[in-house]
């Protein structure tokens, strides 16, 4: 695939900006401030067990990481926010794993979010975020699922969840937006030729009881070109939440559709959450339309301050012709201190 000249320049610009931001901006600002000023830091340890019932296999993963959040501030206002999340991850017979792991028993230092969000000096102008950022698309962008079993299958919809690059973002009085351009390398800061990811979401404020968002996405990753338009909504009423997302688009020209719905319940002190999700996916394969449908039932308990226990059961009711039905039981224990 021939890489368009504009994308080549964009990738070079992103790499140059990331390097420049790291060396010439963050360094001196950090040096000027006490490191513990406006700092939040935690060590995050978790262990996950996954039972692939249809394959009669059980896998585990062990994760230990640091989570740092620091606001750089000046007497005239905030300068920007640094987030650093690096997690040493060891897999043990994890049959299904993200593509950046070499095999089911691999170990890697995984960057989740590593970003600096430069606060705009003008109220109406956007902030500039640089680094390994979460792609602004759909429900996953507004609801934090980082490090938990809970999620919205963004990886399978877009082919990637977080990437190295930049974004323009802002929370306005009635809506928020984020537009990103990233390299397509995923965990790697350098990317294969031709890879790129563009994503954007505009939506109402995420704290409201009714949230609506429109997202667009275009990427070229390992010779697969994906295009998506997504609509997402959240409606909260008392202790219940109804969430949904619909995506339409194509993979290398073949139509794809996704539909996801969730009903959830939280306890009054929000230390307990239960959710039921339904996923429906369709795509055109050699003029044939194929569908996949599955469900997820999950429970999350924050029993005491630092501990988080969660369990989830996923099952397919219908799959694409080349796949077999999966039944997966997962459990996770997490400790932050």
């Amino acid at each position: 695939m021939t890489k368009p000249t504009g994308i080549t320049y964009l990738q070079k610009a992103i790499e140059l900006m990331l390097f420049t931001a790291t060396v010439s901006f963050i360094g001196p600002v950090a040096a000027l401030q006490n490191m513990d000023q406006n700092l939040r830091a935690a060590v995050d340890v978790s262990s996950k067990m996954v039972n692939y019932q249809s394959q009669n296999q059980t896998g585990s993963s062990y994760i230990v990481g640091i989570d740092i959040h620091k606001v750089f501030s000046h007497k005239n206002g905030d300068v920007g926010t640094l987030i650093l999340q690096a997690y040493m991850t060891k897999l043990d017979n994890q049959v299904q794993h993200p593509g950046f792991f070499k095999d089911k028993d691999d170990e890697q230092l995984v960057y989740r979010i590593v970003s600096f969000n430069l606060t705009s000096r003008e109220k109406s102008l956007p902030n500039l975020k640089l680094g390994h950022i979460e792609l602004p698309y759909g429900l996953e962008h507004t609801i934090n699922t980082n490090g938990t079993l809970y999620g919205f299958q963004q990886g399978s919809i877009l082919g990637i969840k977080a990437d190295w690059g930049m974004s323009l973002n802002k929370q306005m009085q009635r809506f928020e937006y984020e537009f990103s351009a990233t390299s397509g390398g995923g965990q790697d800061i350098s990317s294969d030729k031709g890879n790129h990811v563009y994503a954007a979401r505009v939506g109402s404020l995420r704290n409201n009881n009714q949230v609506f968002g429109v997202s667009v996405y275009e990427s070229s990753l390992q010779d697969i070109t994906r295009r998506r338009v997504g609509l997402d909504f959240q409606h909260y009423w008392r202790l219940y939440g109804l969430l949904g997302q619909i995506d339409v688009g194509d993979d290398n020209g073949g139509d794809v559709r996704h539909l996801m719905m969730e009903l959830n319940w939280r306890g009054p002190v929000e230390m307990t959450r239960a959710y039921l999700q339904a996923f429906h996916q369709s795509k055109n394969v050699a003029t044939q339309k194929e569908t996949r449908q599955g469900y997820t039932l999950g429970l999350q308990l924050d029993l005491i301050k630092e501990w988080d226990l969660s369990a989830q059961y996923q099952w397919d009711s219908h799959v694409f012709s080349a796949q077999s039905k999966q039944r997966v039981l997962s459990a996770q224990i997490r400790y932050r201190f």
């Binding site: 700092l39 905030d78 989740r112 995420r206 009054p268 630092e306 201190f337």
Partner: protein, 205 residues
């Protein structure tokens, strides 16, 4: 060899990192209440964050002054006080506190005057179906200008006599009570935790 280098680097970082905060959610979930700050202070041009720790001392302070209230675990740890600025001039403070309620946590963004009296408030999040009654000018005006002592007088009369003409349903009254509790805690915690950062020191004990 590469893995050993990775582990060494990583463990060094871990050793150097000391724990300052614990919360179930990762820090990437944190969002500044930008829309609330500019809604509460429309003339503000920017804001400054000051992050401090709400600790056991603060908790004891709250229990001493408000014997029937306590701090649940998400109220402890690192929290941010925002100073709303118009150019370099301080207009007031914004602090967000979450409070338990029948319908989940209620997050209130409080605007405080420099003398630590209530300027205004807005909900960051409230799943109570009757929140619209609490967002009215009639309700808010009953809190404006009150300092801690003046707010405390409302505990024993949680708006029953003032509120009934405004709203009569149970959910609204319950949310009003949560808001008063949140306001009282905010005033007390702000004074205690950000004591050295407050611009008007004359109001302090």
């Amino acid at each position: 060899m590469k893995n050993i280098a990775l582990y060494t680097t990583f463990l060094t970082c871990l050793t150097l990192t000391y724990s300052l905060d614990t919360r179930a959610e990762a820090f990437c979930a944190l969002r500044d209440p930008v829309a609330s700050i500019y809604q509460l202070y429309p003339e503000a041009t920017s804001f400054r964050s000051i992050v401090r720790t709400v600790n056991k001392t603060t908790r004891s302070h709250v229990i001493n002054h408000l014997p029937n209230m306590s701090l649940h675990f998400s109220e402890m740890g690192r929290h941010t006080l925002y100073v709303a600025l118009k150019n370099e001039k301080e207009l007031g403070y914004v602090h967000v506190r979450s409070e338990k309620s029948q319908w989940g946590l209620v997050e209130v963004a409080w605007a405080l005057n420099l003398d630590l009296s209530i300027h205004d408030f807005t909900f960051q999040r409230a799943r109570n179906p009757s929140r619209r009654f609490i967002e009215t000018h009639e309700f808010k005006s009953q809190l404006t200008g009150r300092n801690f002592s003046a707010m405390k007088t409302l505990i024993n009369q949680p708006f029953a006599e003032h509120a009934l003409p405004l709203f009569s349903d149970k959910d609204a009254l319950q949310l009003a009570s949560v808001v008063i509790q949140s306001g009282l805690k905010t005033l007390l915690i702000t004074e205690q935790t950000w004591k050295s950062d407050l611009i008007d020191q004359s109001q302090l004990d």
